[in-house]
């Protein structure tokens, strides 16, 4: 390694160690900033998961007046498969509908007795439709309303479910947007505070910087150790944040899984190790280095 670079790194490390009070305060502030950036990342994952989970639960059923013939079913399926919004189609005959109903309610005596009393099969044949996105059901519904097979249809349950679906997505979207907006604001505040902390630390050293200039040190020789100090602070902050998040998620994940089944933030956090580390390093080391670089400019004009 180049002797000057070695001296710059050594000097940066020594400065960080000897100004331990100020260094630790800077690291603490950086931990806050990186934590907010990481929280934003996890919040996005959580809201994304919620939206996907809700979307998957939403479907649309088209009920037929009478049991359609096999040819009619083929035509209907062919016509609907041509729609780019449709992810999957499942035809459920009257018999299958009844079998499913009985299987679901076999322990409920009142319902089973009612079925027996009615006699025969009161249920309708239906076509279950899943769209790629929940917002696409409206388009599919209006297509069905004007389709060639519309006379065969008894009812489409989308219009009944629509208000509930809209409300649910509006709520999810509001929570997601508010959370992201709030996190971004907090992250900006934390970044500014971290930036200012580094600036104050360098401002405190302005006399030292002036002396360095006057004894013949080049800009790089002066700036280098401060950059190294900023980067060490950032790196330490990344390590601390990573550990804190790792341990916290390890304990909280089972509880989160109970509230939102299937969402394992711990696995996600470590599964996205490279992304998380890159994000944190960019926030920590980048912040430390940029803040030092910008704060030094003013003092290097002696």
């Amino acid at each position: 390694m180049n002797a000057s670079l070695k001296r710059i790194i050594k000097s940066g490390w020594t400065g960080f160690r000897r100004n331990s009070g100020l260094s630790l305060a800077t690291v603490f502030i950086m931990v806050m900033a990186i934590s907010l950036v990481t929280s934003l990342f996890l919040l996005q994952k959580t809201t994304g998961y919620l939206v996907t989970a809700l979307s998957e639960k939403v479907d649309m059923a088209v009920y037929f007046n009478e049991e359609p013939s096999t040819d009619e079913i083929d035509v209907i399926q062919k016509e609907l498969t041509g729609l780019p919004e449709i992810k999957s189609l499942q035809y459920i005959s009257k018999e299958e509908a009844l079998a499913k109903f009985i299987a679901r309610h076999q322990n409920e005596d009142v319902i089973m007795e009612s079925i027996e009393e009615v006699g025969g099969n009161p249920l309708l044949a239906s076509l279950n439709i899943k769209a790629f996105e929940a917002t696409q059901y409206a388009a599919i519904s209006s297509f069905i309303d004007s389709a060639s097979f519309k006379d065969l249809i008894s009812k489409v349950d989308y219009s009944e479910k629509k208000p509930a679906i809209d409300k649910m997505f509006s709520l999810t979207s509001t929570i997601s947007n508010t959370g992201i907006g709030l996190s971004i604001v907090l992250a900006i505040v934390a970044v500014l505070i971290a930036f200012n902390t580094v600036r104050i630390a360098i401002y405190n050293s302005r006399d030292e910087i002036e002396t360095m200039r006057l004894v013949g040190a080049s800009n790089w020789f002066i700036r280098g150790p401060f950059l190294v100090q900023g980067m060490i602070g950032g790196l330490l902050a990344v390590l601390i944040t990573f550990l804190v998040f790792g341990i916290t998620l390890w304990f909280l994940s089972p509880k989160i899984d109970m509230i939102i089944p299937g969402l394992n933030l711990f696995s996600y956090f470590f599964g996205s190790f490279l992304v998380v580390i890159a994000l944190q390093l960019a926030a920590g080391v980048g912040l430390g280095a940029c803040a030092s670089w910008l704060a030094m400019r003013k003092h290097l004009k002696v």
Binding site: T211, M212, L214, V215, G216, A217, F221
Partner: protein, 229 residues
């Protein structure tokens, strides 16, 4: 070696101009010991700041070895300053570095090897009598020790010129004598010394060249001068 030619420096205090130096011209020969004397505010420190290119003159030129120092490009200033050793009145030691590291710093910026740094720092620490204070931080040193450390830093890289701005301003008479002896010794070893002071006893005991400033003008320049204001 050093030539101040028609130097004028005017500071602006609001709308009021303050003339710190007015048409100052003199030359300093190699290995000379020149004392610049004058009352506070006479322009001594301004003259040294201009020579160190800390500030620019309002008019006039300063030449160091035939080079106009105010024409030096900013990125070449560090290498120009490495030819000069400066002793500041307030020492300007780096507080987070030990005495040894403060002195070594000047050699480090010049890219000296670790072995050379170790040799040279030990040599100057011995010269200024601070060998046993090498690992002390500036705040642990007395005023006299700090000033000796500052002198050691100024001469460790064997500069062509040493500028000493009121180097005894904060010292008692005993330490003052000590520091002046040290500067005289350095001068005898071949280094040009420019000393700015208002200490009458120092000047009268030195019997060297004295340039006297008053209100920013040279009023006397004598080969073996005395302090007369």
């Amino acid at each position: 070696m050093i030539s101040f030619r028609n130097i004028t420096k005017v500071y602006q205090a609001g709308t009021k101009p303050i003339v710190a130096l007015s048409n100052v011209s003199f030359e300093v020969k190699p290995q000379e010991f020149v004392s610049i004397v004058g009352r506070s505010g006479a322009g001594k420190t301004t003259l040294l700041k201009l020579f160190l290119a800390e500030e620019k003159p309002s008019s006039g030129n300063i030449y160091f070895e035939k080079q106009d120092i105010h024409q030096i490009k900013p990125h070449h200033l560090p290498s120009f300053r490495r030819d000069i050793g400066v002793v500041f009145q307030d020492y300007k030691l780096l507080p987070s570095k030990t005495t040894y590291e403060n002195i070594a710093y000047v050699l480090e910026v010049m890219g000296a090897s670790d072995a050379d740094i170790a040799n040279d720092v030990v040599r100057v620490l011995d010269l200024v009598g601070l060998t046993n204070r090498a690992q002390s931080f500036p705040e642990e040193l007395s005023g006299g020790e700090r000033q000796r450390a500052a002198i050691a830093r100024a001469l460790v890289h064997q500069p062509k010129v040493i500028l000493a701005d009121e180097p005894t301003g904060n010292l008692d008479p005993y330490h003052t004598k000590d520091i002046i002896k040290l500067l005289t010794r350095i001068n005898e070893m071949g280094t040009t010394v420019i000393l700015a002071t208002h200490n009458q006893d120092i000047i009268n005991s030195l019997e060297k060249r004295v340039v006297t400033l008053e209100e920013g003008k040279i009023i006397r320049d004598e080969e073996r001068g005395r302090f007369t204001l």
